[in-house]
Every structure is written in C-alpha cells, then in structure tokens.
C-alpha cells in the first residue's frame, strides 16, 4: 500500500514538474523511458528482439513485431500498449485496442487522434481533484496513523496483561495440585457424614412435609415456614443442590474427576486475588413453592459446611475453564502485526439501511436484522484474514453463516479502509448470500510520513 502510494505521488510530481517543459518528440505512444529504443531513421528492433524493421514501419498501422512494440501509437497489434503523458495528471498505459475507438481514455485526449471523437483534456481537473482527495486522504491517514499507534500501545499493554494472567494461572496450577489431595480427603470425610445426615434429615423432612401438607392452609404455619426460609439466607439448601445435578456430590461421575478439581482449585486464588466475591449464589426464595425443604438442623448444617468448600470449588470449575479458554483464545487471535486490531475484539458496529440493521462484531460474527420485525440472520462467523498476500489485513472473511435455500451458507467479506473512526460505511449483497461490508478503522492506516518527503523531494528537481 505505501509502495503504491509512493509511486503514484512520484509520477504526479513529475507530471507537474514537466508540465511547462517543451514536449520531447518521440513516436506516438512511447513512454519517455523507452524513447531510446525508437531512434528515428535507424532500423527498429522489436523490443523482444524478434525482428528488425525499417523505422518507417514504426506506427505505420501494421503489426510487424510479435510483442507489438512497433505499433505503440496505433491499434494494429493485439498485444500493444499506448502511453499517454497526461500532463497535469498521471501518465498511463492503455491497451492499444483503445486507440481511436471513439472513447476518450487518456485525459490528455491523445488516444483519440483519428476517430472523430471529441474529447476534452481533463488532466488538469483530474490532477486537481486527485491532489485534493490525496490531501484529504493524507490528513486522514496521518491522524489515523497516530490513533493506530495508540491502539498498538494499548493492545500491547492489554496483551501483556492477559498473558501475565494466564501464565500466573497456569503457574499456580502446579502448586495447588498438592492441595487437591488434601481437599479430596476433606471431601471424602465430608461425604460420609453428610450422606448420613442427609438421609436422616430427609426422613424427618418427609414426616415434616406430611405435617405441612396437612396444615398447609393454615396461615400461621405458612408464616412460620417463611420465617424459616428467611433464616436460610446465605446457605445452600438441599433443594437447590438437588436441582443442580452437577453439584450434587452423590452423583459422583465426572465431578470427582481429579482434573476438574484441579481446575476448580486453581480458581480460588484467582478469585481472591481479584477480590471477586464468592460466586456461590444465594438460593432464590421460592415463595410459590410452599413445599421447599427447610434447612437442616445445626448438626446437619455444619456437615454441609464441611462440604461447602468442595461444592464451591465445583461451582467455580466451569467458570474457570471458561476464563482460561477465553484468555487463551484472545491471546491466540491474530490481531494484526502489532495487534492493532485488538481493540475491535468484543465490540460490535452497526449500520442501518432502509430495510435492515447490519451488525459487525469483529472476530466474532456478522448479522442482519430486519428493521421492521423479524428474526436475526447470521451472515457469517469469524473465519480469517483474507486480503491479498501483500496486504493480508485489509480484508476479513466471515463464513458458515445461515444456509441459503438451494445455495451456499451465507458469508461476508469485510473490506477495511483507513479512517479516523471505526464505522461500517456500507453493506451490499453482490451475489446471493455473499455479503460485502466496508469498514473504516485507524488500524489499517499506513505510515504517511513519506508524503511530504516525496512531494518536497521532487519539486526540487
């Protein structure tokens, strides 16, 4: 990108520099750089060396050279190209089939010298417009690039942060493994009495329940029950436990797996370090369920408390895995060479059209929702960077969206251009179920430093 820009500006400067100079005579359609090969009154050798012809056969409207080099200024050769100087704008090559075809291709009108087409020289105007838009673009690029530096800086810090967190988590895993054994013992010792206590309690509960049922219509009993229920705040009720099969110590299965416990234990120091309150949820009061089990008696409660740590660690298990995985995932993402795209992660950007609201959540998904009711359609999940080799980070590809009738799964290509702001600027569906989104972000802004240098460097010439 910077290379193309550089080239473009070079030639622009050159054109402006030579605009006032006398035009050097050379065969029609020959660029300055090849003028030396076309020496008047000397036999001309085709540029591929295939043959040599008298000079009067250069541009004589008959193709003699296989490479088309003898007819730079006519349409005679199928593979020829014509050079327009385009003073005031930038020079260009056009296929020689566009010479005298009645269509103005060169802004300096030189391609239509014998077709009767009336062309206006628009080079100066085009040059002016291009300079203007280049200037605007340069400003945007400049500011955008500054923003990008900031983004890179922030991304770097955040990345280090996350990496540190993960390393810490993974490091503490080892040290904690010893404690697992200890806890297992705790758990096992807790389980047996708990089991007994539970059974005991259940039995009495069954009796109690019978009583409650008999007297359930009595307001008093209901009030007493509610009071009991209130007292149970902050404790895990058996009912709550039973409703969560994965927390029930009796359904040993996967929960007693050592690995789960290890992960679970790892969570504890993390939580305490970040001062996150324990995630044990207070059981919801379910007033509608008059028959919810009252808490255990004190003895039972203390037994359950013994199992509490164990239970808590189980509750936190999946969450820990989730955090670890997300950290790993986020660190593993390709956020660009300097992680400049990291700020887009977990953000979403919307564009509203006449019919739909389009939503781009970078590195996640693209979706479309009808403005006036209707369900959301998945237009693709994050796939990969899909720009051309030299500019990989200019295009994002989202695929495996919702399937189309008789067609492919929906997919979206997001084209990124440099801008100060991060916005979706347009969407379209060029082909059925293949969407195209244009998205501006400072993260793709290229270093603009060369601009002034080039301009100044060449005006001196």
């Amino acid at each position: 990108m910077s290379c193309a820009l550089l080239l473009l500006l070079t030639s622009l400067a050159l054109a402006m520099g030579t605009g006032t100079a006398v035009e050097i005579q050379r065969p029609r359609g020959v660029p300055q750089s090849k003028r030396q090969f076309y020496e008047e009154n000397k036999p001309f050798t085709c540029l591929d060396g295939s043959s040599t012809i008298p000079f009067d056969r250069v541009n004589d409207d008959y193709c003699d050279c296989r490479d088309g080099s003898d007819e730079p200024g006519t349409a005679a050769c199928p593979n020829g190209s014509f050079h327009c100087t385009n003073a005031g704008f930038r020079p260009a090559f056009i296929p020689s089939s566009r010479i005298n075809d009645g269509i103005c291709d060169c802004c300096d009108t030189t391609d239509e010298y014998n077709s009767g087409a009336t062309c206006q020289n628009t080079c100066r105007e085009m040059g002016r417009k291009e300079r203007e838009s280049l200037q605007i673009m340069a400003e945007i690029t400049k500011e955008g690039f500054l923003l990008k530096q900031q983004l890179i800086h922030e991304a770097k810090r955040a990345q280090e942060d996350k990496q540190g967190k993960l390393t810490e988590l993974q490091g503490s895993k080892k040290g904690l493994e010893g404690k697992v054994e200890a806890l297992r013992t705790v758990k096992e010792t807790a389980e047996d009495p708990e089991k007994e206590a539970k059974e005991r309690h259940l039995k009495s509960w069954e009796e109690q329940k019978e009583l409650i049922r008999m007297e359930k219509d009595k307001t008093r009993m209901a009030e007493a029950f509610l009071e009991l229920d209130d007292d149970s705040d902050g404790y895990v009720s058996v009912a709550e436990l039973q409703s969560h099969l994965e927390l029930d110590p009796d359904s040993d299965g996967s929960l007693t797996e050592t690995e789960t416990q290890v992960r679970c234990l790892l969570f504890l120091p993390l939580k305490s370090r970040e001062d996150v309150p324990p995630t044990v949820q207070t059981p919801e009061k379910r007033e509608d369920d008059e028959l919810s089990m009252p808490p255990y008696d004190t003895e039972t409660q203390s037994l359950i408390d013994g199992a509490y740590i164990h239970l808590q660690s189980l509750i936190c298990g999946p969450e820990f895995i989730w955090i670890c995985r997300n950290l790993e995932k986020e660190i593993g993402f390709d956020f660009g060479p300097s992680a400049e795209f990291a700020y887009l992660y977990s953000q979403c950007y919307e564009l509203s059209t006449s019919e739909y609201i389009y939503r781009l959540c970078p590195f996640n998904r693209v979706s479309q929702k009808p403005k006036f009711g209707g369900s959301e359609t998945n237009l693709g999940l994050w796939g990969q960077w899909a720009g051309p080799e030299e500019n990989l980070y200019s295009v994002m590809k989202y695929d495996h969206g919702q399937g189309c009738w008789q067609g492919p799964n929906r997919s979206t290509t997001v084209k990124l251009t440099c801008g100060k702001e991060t916005v979706v600027t347009s969407t379209s569906e060029p082909s059925r179920c293949e969407y195209l989104m244009e998205f501006t972000t400072p993260a793709v802004c290229q270093e603009p430093a060369s601009l002034d240098e080039v301009l100044h460097g060449h005006t001196e010439l």
């Binding site: 004589d60 005679a76 009645g102 006449s354 492919p408 059925r432 293949e434």
Partner: protein, 800 residues
Amino acid sequence: MTRVKINELKPLKPRFEVPDVLINDPPTEPLSLLSRDENGVVLSLGADSQRLIVSAKPFRLDIMEGREVLLSLNSRGLLAFEHLRILYLDWLLSLLGPSSISLDFSLPGVENVYGIPEHADSLKLKATDGGDPYRLFNLDVFQYEVFNPMALYGAIPVMLSHSAQRTMGIFWLNAAETWVDISSNTAGKTVFGQMLDYVQGSSETPQTDVRWISESGIIDVFIMLGPTPTDVFSQYASLTGTQAFPPLSALAYHQCRWNYNDQEDVAAVDQGFDDHDIPYDFIWLDIEHTDGKRYFTWDPHKFPQPKDMLQGLLDKRRKMVTIVDPHIKVDSSYKIHNEIRSKGFYVKSKDGGDYEGWCWPGNSGYPDFTNPEMRAWWASMFAYDQYEGSMENMYTWNDMNEPSVFNGPEVTMHKDALHGNWENRDLHNLYGLYVQRATAEGLIERSGGVERPFVLARAFFAGSQRYGAVWTGDNAAEWEHLKISIPMCLSLSLVGVSFCGADVGGFFKSPSTELLVRWYQTGAYQPFFRAHAHLDTPRREPWLFGPENTALIREAVRQRYALLPYWYQLFYHAHHSGQPVMRPLWVEYPQDTATFSMDDQFLLGRDLLVHPVTEEGARGVTAYLPGKGEVWFDVHTFQKHNGAQNLYIPVTISSIPVFQRGGSIIPRKARVRRSSSCMEHDPYTLFVALSPKRFAQGELYIDDGHTFNFDKQKQFIHRRFSFANNALSSRNLAPGSQFTTFSWVEKIVILGASKPSKATLKTHDGKESQLEFEFDASMSVLTLRKPGVNAGLDWTVVLQ
C-alpha cells in the same frame, strides 16, 4: 411444394386456422390431370415428373417422382378429424365436443428425421414407439431434463426428412397442442439384423412413419419436396419468412445475470470488463430492475437514473437489454395495467372477465397479443416518451411468453381462456410469437422505422425467426446441458430460427470453473452468445475465477469478436435467403451417412467446422472432417487435415477445435476492441484456405450495422473474394448497392500456399504495386503484408 388442407365443410362454428404465420398466401399453380379412374386421379405437380396420386377409398395421397414414392399421406389410415358436435346442451350453454385432428405420413427410403423443436434431445429424432411422442406445447418448464421428448418453451411444427437421396420437409401449420409420433422400420434393428438383410438382399426399404396429432384446428400441411437441404430451407422461407437481420452488436457477447442489482453494480461490471480487457456489447437487466415487477418501470432506489446509466454505456459504445414480460401486475396504480384493462385488451377467462393468473408480480393479467389493436398499443409503449428512462441503446427481452402462469395447469394458461372468440387451446403455441412480434414492432416504431430491433424471446412458433432471437430457456450448469445446446440450436436452425443460443454457464446451479470455460468456448461459436445465471447462484463474471481462467474466457470472447464479419455475413444470408447459420454437417454433405446423427459438432455456414470440447476433463476429441478429397485447416495452428476422416485432436483447457474448409475465404477483424461498435472502421484480415485444386471463394458483407438502410436504400457492400489461377480478387456482388466503408484490408493469410516470387496488387484504378510477404514453409502459410486496399473496392493480388 404441396399443401394439403382439410377442414369441415359446414362446422357448427368455424375451426381455427392459424393466421399471421405465413408471410403471404402462397401462390398456387393449377394441377394438370394426367389420368383418372373410379377411385382416384393422377395429377402432375409440374416440375421433375412429380405426380400426385389421389385415391378416394381408402383416402390416400401419394407424391411420386418418376417411379418413386416420395411421401404418402394417410397410408396407414390414421387420418382423424373429430368434427364439431354438441356435447352438452342446456338452456344457455352449449359445449362443443372434442375437435382433434390427426394424419399420418410415410416416408419411404427415409431413416432420418429432424426438427420439431423445442426438445432437449438429440438432433436426429428418435422413434417414439413404446414411449411418449414428441410434444409441442409451449410450457415454462422448471429444470428440464435432457434427452426427453417433453414439451419445452417453444414449438415449431416443422420436420425435415433426410436420406442420401433427398431432403424433404413437413410443415404442420397448427398452433394447438400437438404430438408427433415417429416410427421407423430400421430403428432398433440390430447390426446383425441389418447385415442379414444385406446378405440376403431381401431387405425391405427403410421407411419412417410419422403421425401428427393436434387438439384442435384444421389439417393444413405443407409438403416441401426439396430435393436438397438448401431447397427445403428456401421453400420453408417462402412460407414463413427468414431470420430477422440483427444489429451487428447483437451477434457479439452479452453479459446477463438475474440480476444486476443496481446502477452501481452495472457500472462496476462494465468497468470489470475494461479492467480485464474482455469485450462485451450488451449488459442485461432481469426482472429485479423494475418497480415491483411492473414492466416498463424502474426500481426507484436501485435504478433512480436509468438514462445516466444508459448514457454511461453509450459513452463506451455499449448497450443494454431490459426485460419486459407479458404478464401485467393487476394494480390500479399501474398505468400499463389500467390502460390494458380499460381498453379491454386482456385475455378473458371463460366466464368473460379478465383472465388472471399468478406470476412474478403476483396476480397478473395477460394482454391478448393475438389482437392486432393490442399489439399496436403494446408497440407504442416502447416509444421513448412512453417507456421512461429508455434510450436508443436499450433493447428488449420477452421472457415467460409461453405464457407462464404459475398457478395455471402445467404452469401455463387455462385452455379455455379466451382470445377474442378463440380459446387458448386453439392458438396456444402462437401466443409467444405475437409477444415478440409486438415488441419488435415497438422497437422499430420508436426509431421511426429506421433501426433494426433486437428482441429475445423464450417461447416461439413457426415464423418467430422474423422477430429476433430465441434461447433454450432455463438450462442448468451441467455438462449434459452444455452438450445438448448443440442439437437444440441445430434443430431450431433447420426450421428457420438461426438466432439461437443457450445460457452460457447454465442458468440453474453453479458451474465448475472448467465447465464455465468450456461453455464460453462453445458459446463463442454459437449464434446467440449470452452468459446468464440464476438469482441464487454465486456471481460468475469472467474475472472471478483467477487470472488463468480469465485469460481463457477472454480468448474465447476475442475469437468471437474477431470472427464477427463472418457471423454478420452468415446472418445476412440467413435473412436474405433463409439458409441457416449453424448447420448440421449433413446439410453440406447430404450423401455422407456418417454425418446424419452428429450431436457434438456443427458447421457455421459452409466454411467453419466447430467441434467444441464438451467433456469434463477431456484430453482429446475426435472430430469428423467431412468431404472426400477436401482439406480442412485448423484455424489456430493452420495445420492441414484431409477430409472424410475421424481426426483425433489432443486438447488442453485452451483448445477450441475449429477448422476452415479448404476452398473458402473468411474475413476477420484481428483488432478486437471493447465492443463491436468500436471495431466498425477497423481493417480486415482475409484467411484464404486453398482447396487441393488451389481454389478458394468467400464473401464480405458490410453495412452500417444497425439500420434498415441496407434494405430500403440498398446501402451495403457485398463482395465476392475468389482465389483461382494464383490470383485473389475482390469483385462486387451487388452492383446496385451503395455504401462506403473506412475499413481496409490489412493482411491476407493464404493457407496451403506455395511460395511466390512476388505478389502484385492491382487496385481499382489500375495501379500496381508489390506486396511484401512472409512464407512459413513448415505450414505452407503465405502472409501478404498490408495490401491497404479499401474493403469496398475492386482489387486483385497476383502471385507469381
């Protein structure tokens, strides 16, 4: 030609006789009575000792030439004529009974019959014993099957019979649903059986029997006696007219898709062609360009400035086609609908109200195109001030003109719908022709009668060739569909419709890259060359498949453009004399039995033989080069091959096997530009392919490319190129015509030549000059450098 017409003397009500198909009342000749007895008469048919024997009981007609029976009518006694009867009568309603007709034809000595399009079947028609007959009933068929006698979008009830001795034609002029049953006494016979017949010498003469059945109307049949294919084409052309002469650009490449989404999309695709240096002339807009499928309108959001768009195309000397279908949205805020309704121009249902059916716009009415007043009004809707946003570089496509009625029986109109006094059953197959006719007349009128129209239609009938182009409908991106495009267009070519093509790439489904490339290569050598794709398919503009495939497609399209002078000349001939552009080999080699059932190669005119690669993963093809003692030149390598041989040609993905007949001269324009209009003044290169006797002949036709001035004011150039006695000359074939061209002759390439000592050019003013030349001894190719003579003038080049 013999016409046999059978009708009821006193029908309860008149029976339908097909109007507007014959271009005039065929002149009749009195038949002279040769002899008679109590059961019949023998009449002289004039030429060639041809006689007609009429026998009364049982009724039978035999057409004889000398002692040979050429054709017999009703020899199997299958003549049926259900005369009109009152089937049911009550105080108001009388229902007429069935009214079908049938007749059989026996063709002694005939083993091959062709024609009766449109079917996705082999060129040589199959015997239908034990299966369905070929059906002719214009239908909008969803995802049609190949090698099937089922009815498709169009119907031309014309059959050609061919044997090594004679070519004949049967034109069954009936527009009702028609079935054609074919049986043959040789079909299905084993090779052993045939050998046995041969050895025993007791073989019965091969014979094909054909039975035609139509649901209503009368028996009105023309027997075209040939005897050559050319004669049959002329005879048929004298009845139904010839191919409309299209604007030159319509013979170039067309880029279509359902749909180009909006003006920006059109501009981007247009630019894409320039960016990838691929020529094209027309970009097409399908139904989505309209405002809610209201034809003659534009979607105000997607196409807010149609004239700007058209001007943008005009600036690049390109054109557009928009679709105008014959179903009209029933919507009281739609001008077209209101006018048709208020004028009473809609087809009526049997109870007298406007017939309505479901189509793209939802509930739709169907204008009665059989009504000349309706057609005149419809034509007037194409005036620039009526069709808002239209310009002179915008042309028209009539799709769905069977007509398609989504909720009708077999997706078409109810047979009891009324066109004036006639039921749809009587004229069903004629509806599509009238739609295309009214549209073509509209395009002519909008230009004050100056410009030639270009209208593409899906449904057609005998005579449709007079109004424009047709295509083979909604095919699929499958190799079988690519292959079938050849016999489908050949079948149409044989019965007058030269301007035929298939959707390049296949309409339904998505082609593999290889299939797409092969389809471009094939389509480049078929008359109507348009890529098209279904709405639900991924985009497939030529540059979307990587640079190599872009280059392959570019090359195929360029070959088409370079050959446009030849295409144009062939279409001029098709228009002028009814000779088909695309021809089965047997048309030019009628006695070569090897050519009688070929589906994989064809001729363009007489001089180019095309055997496109239509097999997936092909490494070679075997082309049959006809003509004992003739030679053919590979147009790409100039390699010479002998005729009357099966030639194995190794192929790569870039190969398009095409051969030029030794003895022919073909003009090309080597400077391929971005549209055909851009090439108007470009010079010609003549490819002279010498016969073994060192002789060659060819033609060149030039006019302004788009007006009727060639016809009305004789503004054209028509020249004959002849190579004989080592001299190549150009002389005027149309002394009465007047036209000047800027084009000149830039190069002459003589294939199969020997090296001359010098080449002298003599121009029309008597001046002589020497031409430089190059000689390639390995291929015997002589290239004359820059004769520089104007293409419209006399000149001679003498080789010494």
